[in-house]
Amino acid sequence: MSALYNFDLATAWAFIIAFAVFMYVVMDGFDLGIGILFPTITVGKERDAAMNSIAPVWDGNETWLVLGGGGLFAAFPLAYAVVLPATYPLIIIMLLGLVFRGVAFEFRWRDERHQTFWDFAFFGGSLAAAMAQGMILGALLQGVEVDGRAYAGSWFDWLTPYTLLTGLGTVAGYALLGSTWLIIKAQGRALDHAYRMAKPAFFVTLGLMVAVSLYTPFLEANYYSRWFTYPNVLFAAQVPLLTGIIVFALLRALVKRRTHQPFLLSLALFLLGMAGLGVSMWPHIVPPAITIWDAAAPESSQIFMLVGTAIIMPVILIYTGFAYWVFRGKTGEEGYHS
């Protein structure tokens, strides 16, 4: 019935999944970023405070990753069935990294003698998960070999200079989010440290973003024409222009030691990065072979979920907001009994 109907639904779901992924990147990004920065944070009170600034919320943050994966499985099962085998080792590394990261929140307090080990697990797990996520993204962008309805490449196709670049870019970007989050939550020496870390994280992120942006259009003719041919360029050029403005504002906020601005502007930077991604990929969900319409589940599946999502998602956002509000403000380095 309904090329048009299906068009709307598949598009809607592409945006919902992009939203889930963005929420994940935003929320778990700063969690993982703090993990990545953990070795630079002084052992003792400052580390405890950094850990405590995310301990009450990391669970909810990570749930967005499950929604991204689950939503893909539900709305675009073919894409799910192709992308996961194509990036198999990266997915396994990400999952195992998240195992270490997740249990470290509990374990590092339980046994002081092994705290150093669990601090290292927190750092290593966060680093591995972030790197793997960035490389998965890169692997998707550089194209996946598909035959019929299945992945047709071998299990190391994802490893290229380009994916290493996107992996490092993600690590640096998360470190930027982590350090700017700490600017909001930390005080005293830890606050100085957060400002100090934010600057290199910012410059490295910027450099890698530029490198990835310059590399991407040359991966595929499609991408190139999307960015550099008239009239596309008029539309596409908005992304780098806006990025330039954000970059300037972020640098200024860091120099002037603003509290909330650096984090919010870092988020804007990520949002623009994702928009750039969308410009390159659209309407493919697995470049170069599979579009969102090829991969879409039947409309009855997509409608069934859309109803639930439309009702439940606002509720989720409200109580997630509530949980953040409960734990608002600066974090002390030590829990206390009142």
Binding site: D48, L67, A297, V326, F327, K330
Partner: protein, 486 residues
Amino acid sequence: MFDNADALILARIQFAFTVSFHFIFPAFSIGLASYLAVLEGLWLKTGKSLYKDLFKYWLKIFAVAFAMGVVSGIVMSYQFGTNWSVFSDRTGPILGPLMAYEVLTAFFLEAGFLGVMLFGMNRVGKTLHFTATLMVAAGTAVSAFWILSVNSWMQTPVGYELSGNGQFLPGDSWWPIIFNPSFPYRLVHTVIAAYLTTALVVGGVGAWHLLKDKTDAHARKMFSMAMWMAALVAPVQIFAGDAHGINTLEHQPQKVMAMEGHYESHPDGAPLYLFGIPNEKEQRLDYAVGIPKLSSLILKHDLDAPLPGLDTIPDQDQPPVGVVFWSFRIMVAIGFAILGLGLWSLVARVRKKLYDWPWLHRAALVMGPAGFVAVIAGWVTTEVGRQPFTVYGLLRTANSASPLDAPAVAISLAAFAAVYLAVFGVGTWYILRLMKSPPQPGERGVKHGEKGPVRTAGITPGPVQGENVQPGGPKGRGMADREMAE
């Protein structure tokens, strides 16, 4: 060295390993979340600090178990795609939405309120904190609802149409898919199993401390509550299990044949085999010891009802009998052992000796981990009994796997095994260490002498900015805060 058959068997081992490991934690956290809600509710209602102490004591254990459940669960949510991509492509339109609903209605709820439950005691009022506890408990239950619907559909698929490219598409209505024929039985049986498992753990910890000091009020309360649960709920579980078995006979007869060891058809009443060694090669049960006609009585409620055996099923459609036969017996044996423990505690209670019979306490201690064994054995029975299909009768396991090279699966399996055994081994050790000391009056959630903040009740990660959250502080919350925190 490796071929596709190796990749398949490795993928199956990997799935069995990761799902068994994962399943332990939700089985515990479903029950424990409800127990925590009961304890906090009783505390708010009676004002007795005993309940608050128990609440905080078990909250610490819950925090560790929940974290392990979350991280192993994330692995599960991606495992469908990594190792079973053909299955994912085919079943995605049906199972995907059910799992997405699990995320939306359960995972976010649990995770969103967990922080408030663990850390929020001095930040929100009593009522809000209790609400958070209830939400976490509700989240675990809702999660069970959806994931068991998914699993049950794979066992008893209905309400689908097959598309040209081999996908299962939803039919006119989602209700038959969600409430598929085996789902209600499986949900009831599994959720009760989770409650019993938790009761055995609580009872075991209570018994351990009673053996050291039978006057310990906290230990007494834990033991008593757990034994009530075992005595009252174990019979219900046996009844539910029986109903589930009859449902399975109706929809998955070969699974029941394997569970019962019925290689041969029994035209006039089938025996219940108490013992026997399945002999796959010869297709018979060696050294069989059985009670005549009892199997027909249990399954058909008729002594002479005929029961067909595996000889009526083509070889390539038969489940592996040995594993199913034994895991089923382990589950049933533990079920009756729980019933026995419950009845024993009733006798002790009637004679007013509940806290005075060391052998009862020793038995409860030994039974402490038995629920986990029963839950895993039951899971193995139902999952291996479904073989050789992933979607019963429709999609073969051999046709469900990802097109992966065997070395990739082998390496990831080794990595999972190493990481899981190390991480969850340590976690279990931490939990046992928490259980080793009894709940204290004024339980703080932090062991005496243990420094630093512990992620648990009464401890908050730092004060609120610009707001003095001291006892008797602003906003009239001071009294409640003080009471909550100490």
